[in-house]
């Protein structure tokens, strides 16, 4: 198998994780950085967040957005992605 230059396949990725409303209040901040293994998914980012104490506040399957769009938990993340945990919405 050929080595593909620049594939970056072995480097970990960093994502910016954003929190809002009641979740930000519970966490005491509205943003954190996560370092994840290559190929990590939105679900993996969520699992990393769950290690924090305040995350007991999160529902079993919170909505997640990646780069401003709702995403399924198997969505694969890229370096620099913005991941957000979206509390139940209440516009209007």
């Amino acid at each position: 198998m050929a080595i593909v230059p620049g594939s970056g396949g072995e480097r970990s990725i960093r994502v910016r994780l954003r929190l809002f409303a009641a979740y930000a209040e519970a966490a005491g901040r509205d943003e954190l950085e996560l370092t994840l293994p290559p190929g990590a998914t939105a679900g993996d980012a969520l699992a990393a967040v769950r290690r924090e104490g305040w995350a007991a506040r999160l529902p079993p399957r919170p909505a997640v957005a990646v780069n401003l769009r709702y995403a399924p938990s198997d969505r694969v993340l890229g370096d620099g992605d913005e991941v957000a945990i979206i509390p139940p919405v209440a516009g209007g």
Binding site: A63, V64, R69, Y70, A71, A84, I86, V89, A90, G92
Partner: protein
């Protein structure tokens, strides 16, 4: 309404949502809206595009305030203009339902007593899934 005015459009439906003063358990002084602003804007654009696909002749404008909105003031407005009234009603209603179902906005009620509390929302179900 001038944003959607056009001379081929005969019916315009406007929805305005207003902060109610009364709740079950105490008077509301104001509601504080917060948003994931960049996503709220793109999600609003997506809703508009979906409405345009369903009602191609309709013109649609949506607006939502953020920050503190005193009771009695409007927090959200949707305008849909179309050649015929059924399309205008359907498009307007679709847009406000979608806003409430999926745009990342949250509200905190400020009561007359001085207390404040988050309003329970709905798990967003629209867009590309959201089961993460």
């Amino acid at each position: 309404m001038s944003e959607v005015a056009a001379q081929a459009l005969g019916g315009t439906v406007v929805f305005v949502g207003t902060v109610r003063r009364t709740a079950e358990d105490g008077d509301i002084h104001a509601i504080e809206y917060s948003a994931y602003r960049a996503m709220a804007e793109t999600e609003g654009d997506r809703i508009r595009a979906e409405a345009a696909a369903r009602w191609p002749a309709a013109r649609i404008v949506l607006r939502h305030r953020v920050g503190l909105v005193p009771a009695g003031e409007a927090s959200v407005a949707v305008v849909a203009a179309a050649p015929h009234r059924a399309e205008a009603f359907d498009a307007c209603r679709f847009v406000i339902e979608q806003i409430k179902a999926r745009v990342p906005l949250w509200k905190r009620e400020h009561l007359a007593s001085g207390a404040a509390r988050w309003v329970e929302g709905v798990p967003p179900g629209g867009g590309a899934g959201g089961d993460g």
